[in-house]
């Protein structure tokens, strides 16, 4: 066989693929949500530490929670947590092809949320 001249060209992927289609932006938002959920978890751990240090530290922590920066973060974190949960719940039928699996997740989510609100004394 004659020698064929081959010089395959490899394209660099870069980062612009994120904006190639809205689905990749949605995917990156879902992945990005972990930063807010992780941040919220760290605040909870920090709060526990302040609680262990006595009433003064706990009051200061509660004060900080009411600050505009903290409120802004919590609103963002709530938004990302809702987005994160709903995107994954919507994907559950692919991993577990069982009838009503997605709805069962939403029902479980609602039940746990109501329980948490009940113990927090909202009702």
């Amino acid at each position: 066989m004659a020698e064929v001249s081959r010089r395959p060209y490899v394209r660099e992927m870069g980062w612009r693929w994120i904006f190639r289609h809205p689905r990749y932006v949605r995917y990156m938002l879902r992945e990005f949500s972990c930063l807010f959920i992780g941040g919220y978890t760290l605040i909870m751990v920090w709060g526990l530490k302040e609680l262990a240090q006595g009433p003064g530290a706990w009051q200061a922590f509660l004060e900080w929670l009411r600050s505009p920066a903290s409120v802004a973060f919590h609103v963002l974190a709530l938004g990302f947590a809702l987005y994160h949960s709903s995107t994954w719940f919507n994907l559950t039928p692919k991993a577990l092809p069982i009838p009503y699996i997605s709805g069962a997740h939403y029902a479980g989510w609602a039940a746990v949320s109501l329980a948490v609100l009940y113990f927090a004394g909202v009702f």
Partner: protein, 242 residues
């Protein structure tokens, strides 16, 4: 008339790819492949691309059309407004113009053993391996794969991690694993339960969105993850079950 912007790359003369515009007639019933054939036959015989059946069966004419992996034979000109940009499938090296190097996919496909490995070989005289409609339904969807590689071009994980075995190969492995006549799962697990198998998937889900045959490779990959996880628990926590 419409404008077709096509990626050109001649390995003998070009240092890197460039875009070339062609003006082709607009026909209501033409697909992008018809427009490319018009260019090849009437305007520029040097244009290279793969195609065969013109009816979404062979899986040869996968290319990026306006940045989205599509079969050129299934993408009507009437779906698009303005210039239609045609490029080779993303994440694969370009051999020439719209022709990509498929060796990587072909190698991975062979590694997952996409064929029946019977549990027990039985002589021909004993007749066929029979299957109920319910058993057929468990894998039929995955058997629709035409190896067009659109899922690989849609998958950013494959683009970023070239060793990732990828959506179609895992979906086909899953297809045989789900088949009641098959006994080859342990052999395929070596490939698909590995890090470079299902675990490199972060569930972007793009593979299933672009699949022209609605195979749902993303679903297959997640099911492989669940089954592999159960294997691990059985092996490490309940070894007496072996």
């Amino acid at each position: 008339m419409i404008q077709l912007e096509v990626l050109r790359y001649n390995p003998e003369t070009d240092a890197e790819p460039r875009m070339q515009r062609y003006e082709v007639p607009y026909r209501e019933d033409w697909v992008v492949l018809d427009a490319l054939n018009h260019v090849k036959e009437n305007l520029d015989p040097t244009l290279s691309y793969r195609w065969s059946c013109h009816m979404a069966v062979c899986g040869s004419c996968g290319m990026m059309i306006n940045g989205e992996p599509r079969l050129a034979c299934k993408s009507f000109l009437r779906e698009y407004r303005g210039v239609i940009r045609v490029e080779p499938l993303a994440h694969f090296p370009i051999e020439r113009d719209l022709v990509t190097v498929m060796d990587d996919f072909m190698g991975k496909l062979a590694r997952v053993k996409p064929y029946l490995i019977p549990k027990h070989e039985k002589p021909l005289a004993e007749g066929e391996y029979r299957q109920t409609p319910a058993e057929l339904k468990k894998f039929k969807q995955y058997s629709m794969c035409i190896n067009c590689m659109l899922c690989y071009a849609a998958c950013p994980e494959y683009g970023l991690i070239p060793n990732y075995i990828g959506p179609a190969a895992i979906a086909l492995a899953h297809r045989y694993n789900q088949d009641s006549r098959d006994g080859g799962r342990a052999e395929r697990q070596e490939e698909i339960a590995a890090t470079e198998g299902a675990w490199d998937c972060s569930f972007v889900g793009a593979c299933s969105e672009v699949c022209p045959e609605h195979v749902d490779p993303a679903g297959a990959i997640q099911q492989v993850k669940i089954k592999s996880t159960l294997d691990w628990y059985k092996e490490h926590l309940m070894p007496w079950l072996k």
